[in-house]
């Protein structure tokens, strides 16, 4: 993951599978349910709906201990299975900071490189998203940060 400018994040990962499998794993709710939330830390997707076509919408809701932690939603702008996906992404607590995410699936020799580019409307929106993104990290992370803050304060 790289912050390429005040408003842009770039992330990549290579998978040992053809693009059509990676694309489906990335987009189809029955697969997304199994990887999007850090279930081992008690955060699960309590809602996961996606109408994966241009103009279609999606909504992912994270919950922990019966409470909603965060909700993300947006609209698909371009859907070209299995090579390219463009969608908007809103952390619903802060609807003004809508990002546009472009995901490319580059297949080569049976491997697929996933390249995700997030563009935010402003520096503040990206900073806010990074802070908000941590909410998914669940209590373990927060406790670690809390300890760090406490130790630095003292």
């Amino acid at each position: 993951m790289e912050r390429t400018s005040d408003t842009d994040l770039l992330m990549t990962r290579t998978f040992r599978a053809p693009a059509r499998i990676v694309f489906d794993a990335y987009t189809r709710p029955e697969h997304v349910r199994r990887w999007w939330a850090p279930a081992s830390r008690g955060v699960v997707l309590v809602q996961c709906e996606a109408d994966v076509r241009a103009g279609g919408t999606y909504r992912y809701v994270l919950g922990s201990g019966g409470e909603v932690v965060a909700a993300f939603s947006g609209r698909y702008l371009e859907v070209e299975r299995p090579t390219r996906l463009v969608y908007t992404q809103v952390f619903e607590a802060f609807p003004d900071a809508e990002a546009v995410v472009t995901v490319k699936f580059e297949e080569r020799d049976g491997m697929t490189k996933l390249v995700a580019h997030e563009r935010y409307p402003s520096k503040e929106a990206l900073d806010g998203a990074v802070a908000a993104g941590m909410e998914e990290g669940a209590r373990e992370s927060f406790e670690q940060l809390d300890r760090l803050v406490t130790s630095l304060r003292g």
Binding site: M1, R3, M11, R13, F15, R16, A17, I21, V22, D24, A25, Y26, H31, R34, W35, W36, P38, V69, F91, A93, F94, D96, A97, L114, S122, E124, A125, D127, G128, A129, V130, A131, A132, G133, M134, E135, E136, G137, S141, F142, E143, L145, D146, L148, V149, L152, R153
Partner: protein
């Protein structure tokens, strides 16, 4: 901590925190620096104070706000954690993809039989 991070995830509050990261300021100075109205600034400062991000000290006729937790203005630290969330998520996606591959191989063999 969830409340703290929620408080900081609001763009205007984050700008206030960044402004206070440079030095403590009065409400008036915050309003001037960020072109905010006083009621708006006060509302955000109240949230930041309630969540423990800032503290306030009365000085002469003014109330001076300052940051309580130095690391919270270190956005690089946040990015580090955001990166970890992404990496872990991609690890889980990798597991799902491996499972899908296996399933496809199994189905493929069945079809050929």
């Amino acid at each position: 901590m969830i409340e703290t991070l929620g408080a900081l995830a609001e763009p205007t509050r984050l700008r206030i925190v960044e402004a206070l990261g440079r030095r403590p300021r009065s409400v008036g100075e915050i309003c001037d620096a960020l072109s905010l109205g006083q009621p708006q600034a006060s509302k955000h400062l109240r949230v930041l104070r309630e969540t423990g991000v800032v503290e306030v000290e009365a000085k002469a006729q003014q109330r001076i706000y300052s940051l309580r937790a130095a690391p919270l203005r270190e956005l690089n630290l946040w990015l580090e954690r955001y990166r970890r969330i992404w990496d872990e998520r991609m690890d889980r996606l990798d597991d799902v993809i491996e499972g899908m591959k296996e399933e496809e191989n199994r189905d493929g063999r069945k079809k050929r039989k």
